[in-house]
Amino acid sequence: MFHWLEKHPFFFAVGVFVVIAFAGLVEILPNFAQAAQPVVGTKPYTILQMAGREVYIKNSCNACHSQLIRPFKAETDRYGHYSLSGEYAYDRPFLWGSKRTGPDLHRVGNYRTTDWHENHMKDPAGVVPGSVMPAYTWMFTNLADIDTAYADQLTNAEFFNVPYNKPVPMKDGSTVTVPMAKSVADAHAMALAEAKVITADMKDKNVQDMVAAGKIPEIVALIAYLNSLK
């Protein structure tokens, strides 16, 4: 049979394709629907958080920080409860990472504050002596891309049925509704309102002036996102 295949490239290629496609069919498909179900307490990202997530991605934070707590005592001691599949239901793309040059961030919102992040991005080694993380000073002047964050939200709602404007169950039995903007202008207004809350805890004068003038620097959006990781 193999000698025959070697003389018939078309059937050879078909044979190779069937053999390599097999594992994907068996391993990937069966779990698809189930893994996409959110667990209680998981809510969609707000506009500012979404913009912050894009800042996180833009600067490849996931190259050094994971967002996946493994079910080991050392990890739950250090980072909190181990990660559950449904917690990632609204994560497009996933940001688990593959290398921990820095610590895991999946629940960083539980134990770090706005103030801490602000200082850490300006001078990591000043906050954590011995840190090898570079400073991210440009985040204090570059503006967050609110338009694209809004487009992200719309795409999530339209194509993937992410429940914006719908009550989402929380762990304490209450519900939370994450609103979606009605227009680009509305999106900017909503993001700015969120930004003002974050900025109240920040010390950088320039950032405060920018937000007061209606502009949102990347750092504010990033902190909004990091604070949401719980």
Binding site: F2, H3, K7, P9, V16, F17, V19, I20, F22, A23, G24, E27, I28, N31, F32, A35, A36, I57, S60, C61, A63, C64, S66, L68, R70, F72, K73, A74, D77, R78, S83, L84, S85, E87, Y88, D91, R92, P93, F94, W96, S98, T101, V128, P129, V132, P134, T137, W138, D145, T148, A149, Y150, A151, D152, T155, E158, F160, A181, S183, V184
Partner: protein, 499 residues
């Protein structure tokens, strides 16, 4: 006509040889910069005075490094060898078909265009964040076009072949084409966000090139590592095996040891490799049975991998003195040895208890690099060394330079993987250490500070490899320009494949 030897046309092979060298330098140089930045963080801001911090930062350069090496150096190497080996084992010249010649050149120039757009977009921070699949949708479309054009050329050349039976290398090139096509398409399914419409009727909101993955969370991770692991399979294993099956017998004048073993290892590799992606997700939120499958099949993968490697080593049976006399054979034999080493190390890391320590640490980085530097890098350079005199019709400039390069780079690889082993296991053990009261023994930063010496050694290892690569580039350049002209068309041993 049929009685004269064929005049093969190496125009396209030459073009890809140049990008192999150029992008190899770019990718490896960025690698060394990254290694230095980790060991000495102040290097991140080396161009701070110019306001370029954002672009010389570790996080921006890291995807550039991996993509430049995978899709720049390695892919160029694969194509450089394809446009050389393909003609020779199929007994047909590209010059015989105007269409194939045109497709080959189009393939190259379109590829170069994609490379440039990748560099620009990654520097700008335009990325989807998925490892080795960072490109946004416009570039993805470019990649697919390049791939389709290569496919047309590949099957076109096979279609007009004179040799009826496909030589082993061709099996592997076909598998490379099919495997990457399938993986890349499914992993990069995404929706451009400009398609969304706001309730106010506004369209075309935000960045036009931005997109959202079709898969979310755990599903996204599953598809990504099914892709990520097997991009290694069909980019770093399969096409490199294609090369060694052609170049080692050619260079040594020995026939491939066993046809049956090559059959077994080919079909075994095709079937088993795809299952192993799950070993990237051990202890994650994907179902346990998938993790177990990933683990088991990773161990099974030793069989087909070692099958190819042993087949190559046994090809040298009775001719081992060539390893001592020919630096080119040295490169290929060490490449095979590193392949065996790396495909034993990988399965060990895929065992759950080992993975619990190794995952997220530098040991994984070490594993990737003994594979890429020792196996992929050595084999591609060996292939280009073999091709250069035949393509440029000039004798190789310096054999002794090649020998020196071999030892410098071997030392570099050894420093690299040993330091990363120690670093990874040290960090993994420190993360999990508890004191007598059951509290964590170390803070995270303790585990980072402990790695400084190993990161420094790694930077030295990487630098040695880069120095060796410059010697390689110089040797090929001098061969092109200053090597003595070759009168005979074949330089060395008679071919067992009668090409």
């Amino acid at each position: 006509m049929e009685n004269r030897p064929l005049e093969y046309d190496y125009t396209v092979a030459k073009m890809f040889m140049l990008t192999t060298i150029l992008l190899g330098i770019v990718g490896m140089l960025i690698g060394v910069i990254l290694a230095v930045e980790l060991a000495f963080p102040s290097a991140n801001t080396m161009l701070g005075g110019l306001g370029l911090n954002e672009f010389t930062n570790f996080s921006r350069l890291r995807p550039l490094h991996t993509d430049a090496v995978i899709f720049g150096f390695t892919l160029s190497g694969i194509w450089a060898t394809w446009y050389y080996v393909g003609q020779r084992v199929l007994k047909v010249s590209m010059a015989e078909s105007k269409v194939l010649m045109f497709l080959g050149k189009l393939h190259f120039w379109l590829y170069l265009l994609v490379v440039v757009s990748v560099v620009v977009s990654l520097f700008a921070g335009v990325t989807t964040s998925k490892e080795y699949a960072e490109f946004e949708w416009p570039i993805d479309i470019g990649v697919v076009l390049v791939w389709v054009i290569w496919g047309l050329g590949l099957f076109g050349l096979i279609g007009i072949r004179r040799e009826r039976s496909l030589y082993i290398s061709i099996w592997y090139y076909i598998a490379t084409f099919l495997g990457i096509a399938m993986l890349y398409l499914f992993n990069n399914m995404e929706i451009p966000t400009i398609l969304a419409t706001s309730p106010a009727g506004e369209t075309g909101i935000g960045a036009w090139y931005h997109s959202i993955s079709m898969y979310s969370g755990t599903n996204d991770a599953l598809v990504e590592w099914w892709y990520g692991h097997n991009a290694v399979a069909f980019g770093f294993t399969v096409p490199i095996v294609a090369m060694i099956y052609y170049f080692l017998p050619k260079e040594s004048g020995q026939a491939v040891y066993s046809y049956k073993l090559s059959l077994l290892s080919f079909w075994g590799l095709m079937f088993v490799y795809l299952w192993a992606g799950g070993h990237h997700l051990l202890f994650s939120t994907v179902p346990d049975w998938m993790q177990t499958m990933g683990s088991i099949f990773s161990v099974v993968l030793i069989l087909p991998s070692w099958g190819s490697a042993i087949n190559m080593l046994l090809t040298m049976k009775g001719e081992w003195q060539q390893v001592a006399t020919s630096p080119l054979i040295k490169f290929m034999i060490l490449a095979s040895t590193f392949y065996m080493f790396s495909t034993l190390e990988g399965p060990i890391q895929a065992i759950k208890s080992v993975n619990a320590i190794a995952h997220f640490t530098d040991w994984i980085i070490g594993h990737v690099h003994d594979g890429t530097l020792g196996w992929v890098g050595f084999m591609i350079m060996a292939a280009l060394f073999h091709m250069a005199p035949r393509v440029f019709k000039r004798e190789l400039y310096s054999k002794s330079l090649m020998g020196t390069q071999f030892w410098i780079q071997t030392l570099g690889v050894v420093l690299y993987f040993t330091s990363m082993w120690i670093a990874g296991i040290t960090q993994g053990m420190m993360w999990r250490a508890h004191d007598e009261y059951g509290n964590l023994a170390y803070s995270f930063i303790d585990t980072v500070s402990a790695l400084h010496p190993y990161w420094t050694i790694r930077a030295v290892g990487g630098l040695l490899y880069l120095v060796g690569f410059f010697m390689f580039a110089y040797n090929i350049y001098k061969t092109m320009t200053a090597g003595r002209r070759v009168e005979e068309s074949e330089l060395q041993n008679a071919s067992p494949m009668a090409a």
